[in-house]
């Protein structure tokens, strides 16, 4: 009974925060307070057990990788790469589409999605402004970028929250996730890019004139004429990252948790680049996300303590007697709930259910968890509001003053993203289901 009340409180909280994003922190903290109070008083749960249910390792990794991303971004390596992409595209629309989405995919593998967007979008917007583009291209280009961001995040265990949660809770090892998810994400990304390029070619859109292209490329070269890579950040950053990467690969064998490795690596880089690190810790950390997830984890911990998640897992197991059907149902449900509630709440709620299903022994854990991460990625790509990268990209495009060739302001919003979102959701979700069905 208490479990049912807790789950109702959580669902209501998630719906309200999705409806009023401007007050989502307030809503989630009220939800966490109500849930914790109910669990501790009416549900007789020990408050320390509730706190212990929060995966602190995950929060440490998120915090550490956030600092690492911000420090690494100051090397200007990624802006440099984005400018190189502009030059290599020769001002041709289709090459811009392919190259910028590819670089976004690569960046999102290691940086958080927001940092990756903030680094690449200014360069992309400059070249699009200079070349002049129509509304169709704008919608396609930014939609593809968001999906590339999501797929890149899902490709590695440190790219985005769902994968970090899987690694941080010890559900799957770093190496195992990388081996299973990375090829799948590259494959899905290639399919989506190829279909997008095919669609664009079919529309028969012309490239800008020779003068426009030459002028746009010269302008870009001038706008970034003296931007150089800061090697004093790049070299130690790459060095520390390689060490962290190596330790994550063997984390299980050396007995270090992923969180501790992250702490050590980021701590070392902060000591090396102390002045920049001080500035980032004071001003550049996304504490909002960390607090949001902490409140969310408290709610999930209360629910897990009440036994309701085990009950739901048991119910699903009874209803779907075939293991493949059970895992597929979980994945589809996870994808849709991600589209509505976003990746954090969805993955945090679904993971305990998935763990329960895996513990019953019929389904291989690694496959289920990677399938779940792919479903979250599919859901994140469904609606523009499903992932934080979407609203950020919308806001940056709106503020940029980008106009179409015809003159009106460029539009990139919920509705312009939706057709591509449905297409991307279908491809990623089907890809994830095939992956699981082949392996279970």
């Amino acid at each position: 009974m208490i479990g049912l009340v807790l789950i109702i409180v959580m669902i209501v909280t998630l719906i309200i925060q999705a409806l009023i994003p401007a007050r989502k922190m307030l809503v989630i903290f009220i939800g966490a307070t109500v849930t914790t109070s109910i669990a501790a008083t009416l549900g007789n749960q020990n408050i320390l057990n509730i706190y212990n249910g929060v995966p602190w390792d995950v929060l440490v990794i998120l915090l550490g990788l956030g600092i690492f991303s911000s420090l690494f971004a100051r090397s200007r390596l990624f802006s440099y790469l984005a400018v190189w992409c502009s030059r290599a595209s020769q001002g041709k629309y289709i090459l811009i589409l392919i190259m910028f989405s590819s670089i976004m995919f690569i960046l999102s593998c290691t940086l958080n999605n927001l940092t990756a967007l903030l680094l690449v979008l200014p360069v992309l917007l400059s070249i699009l402004k200079a070349l002049g583009v129509n509304q169709g291209f704008i919608a396609l280009c930014f939609s593809l970028l968001i999906v590339a961001c999501n797929l890149g995040g899902a490709a590695t265990p440190i790219g985005d929250f769902p994968a970090i949660l899987l690694m941080g809770t010890g559900s799957i090892s770093f190496l195992r996730y990388l081996i299973l998810a990375f090829p799948m994400c590259i494959l899905l990304f290639s399919v989506i890019v190829a279909l997008s390029a095919f669609y664009y070619r079919k529309k028969g859109r012309k490239n800008p004139s020779l003068l426009e292209r030459s002028l746009a490329l010269t302008s870009m070269a001038q706008l970034y004429r003296n931007v150089t890579i800061d090697k004093t950040i790049l070299y130690p950053g790459v060095g520390v990252f390689c060490v962290m990467f190596g330790l994550w690969m063997v984390a299980g064998r050396i007995g270090l948790s992923p969180g501790v490795i992250c702490f050590l690596g980021v701590g070392l880089l902060m000591v090396i680049k102390n002045e920049a690190a001080e500035d980032i810790v004071r001003h550049g950390i996304d504490f909002e996300s960390i607090l949001f997830l902490t409140a969310l984890f408290l709610m999930v911990s209360c629910m897990a303590g009440s036994g309701i998640l085990d009950f739901i897992a048991g119910l699903m197991s009874r209803y779907f007697t075939d293991t493949k059907m059970l895992v597929c149902a979980l994945m589809i449900f996870c994808g849709i709930s991600t589209a509505i509630f976003s990746a954090g709440p969805s993955m945090a709620t679904m993971l305990p259910i998935a763990q329960q299903i895996v513990s019953q022994g019929d389904a291989p854990g690694d496959t289920v968890y990677v399938g779940l991460a792919l479903s979250v990625c599919a859901g994140s790509s469904f609606l523009l509001t499903a992932a934080t990268a979407g609203p950020l990209a919308q806001s940056i495009v709106e503020k940029s003053g980008l106009t179409t060739r015809e003159g009106p302001s460029a539009k990139f919003n919920f509705m312009t993203f939706l057709p591509f979102g449905i297409f991307a959701y279908a491809i990623i979700q089907i890809g994830g289901l095939i992956f699981v069905l082949v392996r279970v």
């Binding site: 200007r76 802006s79 200014p122 400059s126 402004k129 200079a130 070349l131 002049g132 004139s209 020779l210 003068l211 426009e212 030459s214 002028l215 746009a216 010269t218 302008s219 001038q222 706008l223 970034y224 004429r225 003296n226 931007v227 003053g401 106009t403 060739r405």
Partner: protein, 226 residues
């Protein structure tokens, strides 16, 4: 040079060209942007086509037309700017603070690098800029400031510089931000207010486009760049 390329240049929509170089005008300066355009056109076509483009852009970007009318090739313009900027550097060596109203990257790039001991304070001439990108192109002794900070930076070791375009006798064209920034109070706060003269005299391109100002109303000293 293919015929198609020549046709595409002369048939260009002027608004399309302006859209392409609008960021460059905002962040590099109108004169620097005109040089970028001249250089690009020079690489793609010949002088006659450059002049035809000047006609096409007459109402949109007259400064480009004035550069073409000056008869200087991109290389010649570059050499003159470099030589004159080096002379300007000698004049500015004794100043610790150099406040620059308006950005012209062809001048400021070498100025800021060759005077590393001086601090440069730039007041952009446009509001549609990417401040982070502008600063990433300059060394660490350069800062962007708001026009309201201009009085606080005055002093005997401070100089203010801005631009006077196409000066003809006593009159010249200036950036609107220069008009807003350099009043009698500011003139009294700085050791010198130097006007960098860019292109002398104006032909038919600029004459109907922008209001002319008496150069001495703004500048205590003048220095010819091109």
């Amino acid at each position: 040079m293919s015929e198609a390329a020549v046709i595409s240049i002369t048939d260009m929509d002027p608004e399309g060209i302006m859209r392409t170089i609008s960021s460059v005008i905002s962040e590099l300066g109108a004169f620097s942007a005109a040089l970028v355009l001249q250089d690009t056109v020079h690489r793609l076509t010949h002088q006659r086509e450059a002049a035809r483009l000047a006609e096409t852009l007459a109402e949109y970007f007259p400064l480009y037309g004035e550069i073409i009318e000056s008869g200087l090739s991109p290389n010649e313009a570059g050499q003159i700017i470099e030589e004159r900027t080096n002379q300007l550097i000698e004049q500015l060596r004794n100043f610790s603070s150099i406040v620059v109203v308006g950005i012209e990257s062809v001048i400021l790039d070498s100025l800021s690098r060759k005077l590393p001991q001086s601090r440069f304070y730039l007041i952009p001439h446009s509001e549609t800029i990417d401040a982070e990108r502008i600063l990433a192109n300059f060394p660490a002794n350069v800062r962007l400031i708001d026009i309201r900070e201009i009085m606080g930076l005055g002093g005997t070791r401070s100089v203010l510089i801005s631009y006077a375009f196409c000066q003809m006798e006593e009159d010249s064209f200036i950036y609107p931000v220069t008009f807003r920034a350099v009043g009698p109070d500011v003139r009294s706060a700085y050791n010198q207010i130097v006007g960098l003269n860019i292109l002398s005299g104006y032909k038919r391109y600029l004459s109907n486009m922008a209001p002319l100002y008496s150069t001495s109303q703004f500048f205590t000293n003048q220095f010819r760049i091109v």
